[in-house]
């Protein structure tokens, strides 16, 4: 069994290397990808792109050699060394430039995470396992096709699962499907305070008393179809409270009323009722 698994490892490692090389060699935005990666820190800005392309070339050559039988031990050893290099690089990137992108299997900017490191570790293990045998993967697959395909699928699934840059292809659709089936965010209703605040801030009443206001909202309460919103205010040197009345059922800013009440005496210093909408032709602006 172990012999068979070991014989299949060149296929897994080779496939991952060729995929990785494809990103590094064929990606038109490689320069941008490199600039986001920790490679710039490691080899300098001028040498980062050539180093990235060179790495892609090495990956392609080694991956191709691994995929094509026969697979002498030095190929597996070289792949193990390369994967060990990835592991060291990712560990370095996490320490030295934690905000940098991995630049590994996709051009998508993905921070280096524990999963990327685990994937590099998996490749090291697969390379090491491959070095145990020189049996070709074709022979192993023809001898036990079902078990062989199962091992390959499980390993490739593990590589995909450990690749944060591939989440968009499988994990997000799965989560979207779960949300569509379970509707976890439904069941919130009512007029939020922010809706009333937006309405009052668009109102003529607010525009006219805004210079008097000193504080953000201090209190708010609902009563008889109105929402009352109180701000601290100052009117000709006296501490006062500006209280806005916003109708809960009418979203028209023109219906907002305001009063400024003296804190000490309780007298109304100023009050403005809503202005009726202007008659005649008017321009209606619809938010985009």
């Amino acid at each position: 069994m172990l012999e068979m698994i070991a014989a299949l490892q060149p296929l897994v490692v080779g496939a991952v290397l060729v995929w990785s090389a494809r990103v590094k060699l064929l990606n038109r935005h490689a320069a941008a990808t490199v600039n986001r990666s920790a490679l710039v820190r490691l080899v300098g800005e001028r040498r980062a792109l050539p180093a990235y392309r060179l790495l892609g070339g090495v990956e392609l050559a080694l991956g191709g050699l691994l995929l094509l039988p026969p697979t002498p031990r030095w190929e597996a050893a070289a792949a193990t060394a390369l994967a060990g290099g990835f592991l060291a690089y990712l560990t370095y990137a996490r320490r030295a430039a934690p905000t940098s992108s991995c630049g590994c299997l996709s051009a998508r900017a993905t921070p280096v995470s524990g999963r990327s490191v685990a994937r590099a570790g998996l490749l090291v293990a697969a390379g090491g396992l491959a070095a145990l045998t020189t049996a070709g993967w074709t022979a192993a697959l023809t001898a036990r096709p079902l078990a062989g395909v199962a091992v390959l699928l499980i390993e490739l699934a593990a590589v995909v699962a450990l690749s944060p840059e591939l989440d968009r292809a499988w994990l997000l659709p799965l989560r979207q499907l779960r949300v569509r089936l379970t509707h976890p965010l439904r069941g919130n209703s009512g007029v939020p305070l922010l809706a009333s605040v937006q309405q009052l801030q668009l109102s003529d009443a607010y525009r006219r008393v805004a210079p008097l206001l000193r504080s953000d909202i201090r209190e708010h309460w609902d009563d008889g179809g109105w929402r009352f919103v109180g701000h601290a205010a100052r009117y000709q040197g006296r501490p006062a409270t500006a209280v806005f009345a916003v109708p809960l059922t009418d979203a028209e800013p023109g219906s907002v009323r305001v009063a400024v009440v003296d804190d000490a005496t309780g007298h109304t210093l100023l009050s403005l009722a809503g202005t009726p909408p202007a008659t005649g032709p008017h321009l209606s602006v619809v938010p985009a």
Binding site: Q176, S189, L194, P211, L212, F228, T241
Partner: protein, 198 residues
């Protein structure tokens, strides 16, 4: 409690019962008469009327706050101070360890008499990584943030239209901007407002 109700009744009557344009001090003056003094801040200098930091001590109505640049601020909470902690709230809900932004007037003794205090307020741009029962898992520059939907408090603004309570148009994988209240020393927040495209 009774006092609050009386006061609210007074304020509500004032707001709803007023006569257009009339004031207790004569006729309504034009807006220019109300104009506040311009805030004079020298370019490049810190705004003297603003403070931020974590609360290290609360004594009476004073907050001792350590700024993120380790500057110490004394902030006085007055009768007119508005306090926000996910929603407009009262001074007794403020605790040691909370973060805050405060705006007010710097007094001659160096304390800041606060007009408004926003406790634990955060403003994040993030992607929705996954959605659970009344919870969003946000991906913020590679860090995971757990954002709780608070029933009756959280609001959503879709495409810049007026705020609604309905959160169900949020989509996994989409970009959102979230205003919320941080749970100190955790990666969790309560959502005040989430801005999204729908």
């Amino acid at each position: 409690m009774h006092q609050t109700l009386d006061r609210r009744r007074l304020l509500a009557t004032a707001a709803l019962g007023g006569v257009v344009g009339a004031t207790g001090l004569g006729s309504l003056a034009p807006e220019a008469a109300f104009a506040a003094d311009a805030v004079a801040v020298e370019p490049g200098m810190p705004d003297p009327n603003f403070a931020e930091g974590r609360i290290s001590k609360i004594s009476g109505n004073m907050l001792l706050v350590t700024g993120s640049d380790t500057v110490l601020h004394s902030i006085r909470i007055t009768d007119g101070t508005s306090i926000w902690k996910l929603h407009p709230t009262t001074f007794d809900r403020v605790a040691v360890g909370d973060g805050l932004y405060a705006r007010g007037v710097r007094l001659p003794d160096g304390t800041l008499a606060a007009d408004s205090v926003w406790v634990n307020i955060v403003n994040l741009h993030a992607h929705i990584a996954s959605v659970g029962r009344n919870v969003l898992h946000l991906d913020h520059k590679g860090q995971r943030i757990v954002a709780h939907v608070v029933t009756g408090r959280s609001a959503a603004v879709y495409n810049g239209t007026p705020a609604v309570s309905d959160m169900s148009l949020l989509r996994v994988g989409r970009h959102v901007q979230v205003l919320g209240a941080w749970h100190p020393d955790t990666n969790e927040i309560d959502i005040a407002t989430v801005y999204a495209a729908a």
